[in-house]
Symmetry: C2
Subunit: 97 residues, 2 copies
Protein backbone atom coordinates (compact mmCIF):
# COMPACT_ATOMS: atom_id res chain seq x y z
CA UNK A 1 0.00 0.00 0.00
CA UNK A 2 1.08 3.56 -0.65
CA UNK A 3 0.12 6.13 1.98
CA UNK A 4 0.22 9.77 0.96
CA UNK A 5 0.54 12.24 3.84
CA UNK A 6 0.40 15.99 3.48
CA UNK A 7 0.36 18.65 6.18
CA UNK A 8 -0.46 22.31 5.78
CA UNK A 9 0.04 25.45 7.81
CA UNK A 10 -2.36 28.08 6.47
CA UNK A 11 -1.51 31.70 5.89
CA UNK A 12 -2.33 34.08 8.73
CA UNK A 13 -5.08 35.76 6.75
CA UNK A 14 -6.90 32.58 5.68
CA UNK A 15 -10.53 32.80 6.78
CA UNK A 16 -12.47 30.09 8.62
CA UNK A 17 -14.66 29.74 5.54
CA UNK A 18 -11.64 29.14 3.33
CA UNK A 19 -10.22 26.55 5.72
CA UNK A 20 -13.52 24.68 5.98
CA UNK A 21 -13.94 24.75 2.23
CA UNK A 22 -10.73 22.73 1.77
CA UNK A 23 -12.19 19.77 3.64
CA UNK A 24 -15.56 20.11 1.92
CA UNK A 25 -13.99 20.10 -1.52
CA UNK A 26 -11.49 17.28 -0.88
CA UNK A 27 -14.26 15.12 0.59
CA UNK A 28 -15.76 14.89 -2.90
CA UNK A 29 -12.73 13.02 -4.23
CA UNK A 30 -13.57 9.47 -3.10
CA UNK A 31 -16.58 9.70 -5.40
CA UNK A 32 -14.39 10.85 -8.28
CA UNK A 33 -11.17 8.84 -7.98
CA UNK A 34 -11.73 5.05 -7.83
CA UNK A 35 -8.09 4.38 -6.84
CA UNK A 36 -8.61 6.18 -3.52
CA UNK A 37 -8.88 3.53 -0.79
CA UNK A 38 -8.62 5.17 2.64
CA UNK A 39 -9.07 8.93 2.92
CA UNK A 40 -8.89 10.90 6.15
CA UNK A 41 -8.36 14.55 6.88
CA UNK A 42 -8.86 17.06 9.61
CA UNK A 43 -7.94 20.20 11.44
CA UNK A 44 -5.38 20.03 14.20
CA UNK A 45 -7.11 19.48 17.54
CA UNK A 46 -4.83 21.90 19.35
CA UNK A 47 -3.20 19.83 22.07
CA UNK A 48 0.39 20.58 21.02
CA UNK A 49 2.06 23.94 20.50
CA UNK A 50 3.84 24.42 17.21
CA UNK A 51 1.59 22.05 15.27
CA UNK A 52 0.53 22.81 11.74
CA UNK A 53 -3.13 23.33 10.84
CA UNK A 54 -4.48 20.57 8.61
CA UNK A 55 -3.55 17.06 7.53
CA UNK A 56 -4.66 14.69 4.78
CA UNK A 57 -3.83 10.98 4.56
CA UNK A 58 -4.77 8.98 1.47
CA UNK A 59 -4.20 5.27 0.82
CA UNK A 60 -3.73 3.50 -2.50
CA UNK A 61 -3.04 -0.06 -3.58
CA UNK A 62 0.01 1.02 -5.52
CA UNK A 63 1.95 3.91 -6.99
CA UNK A 64 -0.33 4.12 -10.04
CA UNK A 65 -3.26 4.69 -7.72
CA UNK A 66 -1.46 7.53 -5.98
CA UNK A 67 -0.47 9.12 -9.29
CA UNK A 68 -4.08 8.92 -10.48
CA UNK A 69 -5.08 10.87 -7.36
CA UNK A 70 -2.23 13.36 -7.60
CA UNK A 71 -2.94 14.17 -11.21
CA UNK A 72 -6.73 13.94 -11.20
CA UNK A 73 -8.23 17.08 -12.82
CA UNK A 74 -10.87 17.57 -10.11
CA UNK A 75 -8.16 17.29 -7.46
CA UNK A 76 -5.87 19.73 -9.31
CA UNK A 77 -8.73 22.22 -9.61
CA UNK A 78 -9.44 22.03 -5.86
CA UNK A 79 -5.74 22.59 -5.12
CA UNK A 80 -5.54 25.57 -7.46
CA UNK A 81 -8.78 27.19 -6.36
CA UNK A 82 -9.12 26.38 -2.67
CA UNK A 83 -5.80 25.17 -1.24
CA UNK A 84 -2.94 27.01 -2.96
CA UNK A 85 -4.28 30.49 -2.09
CA UNK A 86 -4.08 29.81 1.66
CA UNK A 87 -0.92 27.68 1.91
CA UNK A 88 1.63 29.08 4.34
CA UNK A 89 3.72 25.91 4.56
CA UNK A 90 3.25 22.46 3.02
CA UNK A 91 5.04 19.18 3.78
CA UNK A 92 4.36 15.88 2.03
CA UNK A 93 5.63 12.30 2.15
CA UNK A 94 4.46 9.23 0.25
CA UNK A 95 5.55 5.97 1.78
CA UNK A 96 5.04 2.25 1.31
CA UNK A 97 3.47 0.28 4.14
CA UNK B 1 -10.63 8.21 16.29
CA UNK B 2 -7.60 10.46 16.68
CA UNK B 3 -4.98 10.24 13.92
CA UNK B 4 -1.54 11.61 14.73
CA UNK B 5 0.56 12.57 11.71
CA UNK B 6 4.16 13.68 11.86
CA UNK B 7 6.56 14.39 9.00
CA UNK B 8 10.31 14.85 9.22
CA UNK B 9 13.03 16.23 7.00
CA UNK B 10 16.34 14.92 8.29
CA UNK B 11 19.50 16.96 8.61
CA UNK B 12 21.90 16.81 5.67
CA UNK B 13 24.48 14.91 7.67
CA UNK B 14 22.13 12.20 8.99
CA UNK B 15 23.50 8.79 8.03
CA UNK B 16 21.52 5.96 6.44
CA UNK B 17 22.06 3.94 9.60
CA UNK B 18 20.58 6.73 11.73
CA UNK B 19 17.56 7.07 9.43
CA UNK B 20 16.89 3.32 9.42
CA UNK B 21 17.25 3.17 13.17
CA UNK B 22 14.31 5.55 13.62
CA UNK B 23 11.91 3.08 11.99
CA UNK B 24 13.44 0.13 13.82
CA UNK B 25 13.04 1.81 17.19
CA UNK B 26 9.53 3.19 16.61
CA UNK B 27 8.36 -0.21 15.39
CA UNK B 28 8.80 -1.50 18.95
CA UNK B 29 6.08 0.81 20.26
CA UNK B 30 2.97 -1.22 19.37
CA UNK B 31 4.28 -3.86 21.77
CA UNK B 32 4.76 -1.25 24.48
CA UNK B 33 1.77 1.12 24.18
CA UNK B 34 -1.61 -0.68 24.27
CA UNK B 35 -3.51 2.46 23.17
CA UNK B 36 -1.78 2.37 19.78
CA UNK B 37 -4.31 1.07 17.21
CA UNK B 38 -2.99 1.65 13.70
CA UNK B 39 0.68 2.47 13.21
CA UNK B 40 2.36 3.11 9.88
CA UNK B 41 5.59 4.78 8.91
CA UNK B 42 8.00 4.97 6.07
CA UNK B 43 10.57 6.77 4.00
CA UNK B 44 9.45 8.96 1.15
CA UNK B 45 9.37 6.96 -2.09
CA UNK B 46 10.84 9.81 -4.12
CA UNK B 47 8.21 10.49 -6.76
CA UNK B 48 7.77 14.18 -5.92
CA UNK B 49 10.38 16.89 -5.66
CA UNK B 50 10.39 18.93 -2.49
CA UNK B 51 8.98 16.14 -0.33
CA UNK B 52 10.19 15.60 3.20
CA UNK B 53 11.95 12.36 4.23
CA UNK B 54 9.90 10.31 6.65
CA UNK B 55 6.32 10.09 7.92
CA UNK B 56 4.57 8.42 10.84
CA UNK B 57 0.80 8.00 11.24
CA UNK B 58 -0.64 6.63 14.47
CA UNK B 59 -4.28 5.98 15.32
CA UNK B 60 -5.97 6.01 18.72
CA UNK B 61 -9.51 5.55 19.98
CA UNK B 62 -9.43 8.90 21.72
CA UNK B 63 -7.29 11.77 22.95
CA UNK B 64 -6.21 9.87 26.07
CA UNK B 65 -4.79 7.17 23.83
CA UNK B 66 -2.78 9.69 21.85
CA UNK B 67 -1.49 11.35 25.03
CA UNK B 68 -0.42 7.96 26.38
CA UNK B 69 1.63 7.47 23.19
CA UNK B 70 3.02 11.00 23.16
CA UNK B 71 4.17 10.81 26.74
CA UNK B 72 5.23 7.16 26.91
CA UNK B 73 8.74 6.89 28.41
CA UNK B 74 9.98 4.41 25.78
CA UNK B 75 8.71 6.71 23.05
CA UNK B 76 10.29 9.78 24.64
CA UNK B 77 13.61 7.93 24.92
CA UNK B 78 13.52 6.98 21.22
CA UNK B 79 12.78 10.60 20.30
CA UNK B 80 15.62 11.92 22.45
CA UNK B 81 18.19 9.34 21.40
CA UNK B 82 17.39 8.53 17.76
CA UNK B 83 15.08 11.18 16.28
CA UNK B 84 15.93 14.58 17.77
CA UNK B 85 19.63 14.42 16.75
CA UNK B 86 18.75 14.16 13.05
CA UNK B 87 15.68 16.44 12.78
CA UNK B 88 16.04 19.15 10.17
CA UNK B 89 12.35 20.05 10.06
CA UNK B 90 9.32 18.56 11.80
CA UNK B 91 5.60 19.10 11.17
CA UNK B 92 2.79 17.48 13.13
CA UNK B 93 -1.01 17.49 13.17
CA UNK B 94 -3.43 15.48 15.31
CA UNK B 95 -6.93 15.33 13.91
CA UNK B 96 -10.24 13.63 14.63
CA UNK B 97 -11.69 11.34 12.00
Amino acid sequence: MIRHTVLFAWTGDATDAQKKRVATELSRLPGVIPALRGYAMGTDIGVNEGNWDFAVTADFDDLDGYLAYRDDPTHRAIIAEHIAPIIGRRAAVQFQC
